[in-house]
Amino acid sequence: MISSIAFRNFRALRNTQVRLVPFNVVIGPNGSGKTSLIEAVMRLSTLSKLGLGTGEVETKLPGGPEIDVTFDEPFAGVVVHMSCVSDVRCDALRVGVRDVGRWPELQAELGTIRSYVLDHEALARVARRGDGAELGRTGDNLAAVLAHRRDHAPAAFADLTGEMLRLMPEFRELVLTELPEGGVEFGLRLIDNGLVPAAELSQGMLYLTGILALAYDPDPPRLLCIEEVDRGIHPRMLRALRDLLYRLSYPQASGVARRPVQVITTSHSPYFIDLFRDHPEEVVISHKHGRAATFSRLIDRPDLGELLRDGSLGDMWFSGILGGVPEEG
């Protein structure tokens, strides 16, 4: 999907570029541009829906934010340029594009992009049956999404629940309870028969259920952003989490017949980062320099092999030799 994004004066991202692959985990201190990267992707998605001002952007704010996005095949000939059009509304970016012929197709795909910052309280909340098939940005609507899947995509629902019960073996059933006035809530039935409503599930179980709903989406977006993807998850469960995310980005490796979903995640967990030792091309490091930030890719580090001989990737990151650590005063 997206092959690179170049930033100028977009928040802390003054002048930097990032290359993206099917799966990406971005690590770095707070305020180093991880969220700005995802925001830029979401802005691209939003603007793509508004239609297109083609050709050169005429009225842009000098020194204002500019973002250039390039794409993988079949959209390799397309460059989307977003820039600020006035100093009053810096939010109003314009989209320019080369190879206009492919734009409508790309536009449709960009429109599917989703971004999540899951929150356990939102995940546990009672949902409204009629609120459709899509998980809310914080994970709200989860119960309605599960009920919709059960009714409209039973095979995908069976896969989801099968994996869920494998990962949480203390349970034997996912239970959806209809409430008065169109409400629905979910719960998990324990092996010994007790029902644990969502509100009483552990945070980790709620986050895992949210990620499962995304990973087993029968009609997933083309690009999915998940911030703090390891939140609440036990370190020994992180491998299962990575498998769920790889299922999206590399469906063939999981025996799933579906187009790959590009994934951009952020993490602060050295244990999660350890899991990418064999795929350093998937790790993006964001560096903070005062109020500015830049991106680099772990794979571009020439001495990576030697570094990994003496320590784990997570330890190397924590030590500071890879960058992507907070500045200490």
């Binding site: 494998r166 020994r236 491998r239 299962a240 498998d243 790889y246 299922r247 590399y250 063939q252 490796a253 999981s254 244990y271 350890d274 030792r277 064999d278 795929h279 001989r309 003496d310 320590g311 784990s312 997570g314």
Partner: protein, 215 residues
């Protein structure tokens, strides 16, 4: 015999359970949750604590540890000379850690010490799974590649050959690990012959004293 396992992943652990059961002369009972380390050098870092914990707080009689060699120096018979220790060999390092950790422990739980069985998979446990299926994969082939400066395969190659992808899910990895370990369990001779890092583990396990009491 009461045995604890220290491994790098649940898939490795599943394979080890099968192999250990095949090699131990005594009925087997596992102790603990399946101790886990996050690859090298973390295995060596947690091993002293695992040993002390097993020694004082459990009735474990043996600790089984298996690590990947990656591109470290491969253990050779020359390393077994009395008093010799190769600082870049993971087998030598783990044995030394065991020696140093257990040397001064007082007897506890009715036994002198927790004995050890250490294996090193060269360069990764997937090579063991290919043993007997892919004639180009062996410890000797790897060592020759190291000497020539051109490795015959890497971790990703081995993964692709074993799992059909270098991004296997843990479920797939575990299923394949158990299947291949079962194959070796029926006849471990080829694995012992082609992988001295496994033969060392097997020798340690066969050397374990049979239980004499009814504890």
């Amino acid at each position: 015999m009461k045995v604890a396992l220290l491994s790098e992943s649940p898939a490795d652990e599943a394979a080890l359970r099968v192999l250990v059961a095949a090699l131990l002369p005594d009925a087997l009972q596992y102790v603990g949750p399946g101790y886990r380390a996050r690859g090298w050098p973390n295995v060596g870092q947690v091993m002293p604590s695992v040993l002390r914990h097993l020694h004082f707080n459990t009735d474990a009689e043996a600790l089984v540890v298996v690590v990947d060699s990656d591109d470290s120096v491969v253990h050779s018979p020359a390393h077994d000379a009395p008093g010799y220790f190769h600082p870049q060999c993971r087998m030598c390092q783990l044995r030394a850690i065991y020696r140093l950790t257990t040397r001064r422990l007082p007897p506890a739980q009715g036994r002198d010490r927790v004995v050890r069985a250490i294996g090193v998979a060269v360069p990764a446990i997937e090579a063991w799974y290919l043993c007997g299926r892919d004639a180009t994969v062996s410890e000797a082939a790897w060592i020759e590649g190291q000497e020539r400066g051109r490795l015959p395969y890497d971790r990703a190659d081995l993964k692709r050959r074993v799992y059909g992808t270098d991004r296997p899910s843990l479920v797939l990895q575990t299923a394949v690990a158990v299947r291949e370990a079962e194959r070796h369990r029926r006849d471990p001779r080829r694995l012992e012959n082609d992988f001295p890092g496994f033969a060392a583990l097997a020798a340690d396990l066969r050397r374990m004293p049979p239980r004499t009491d009814a504890r």
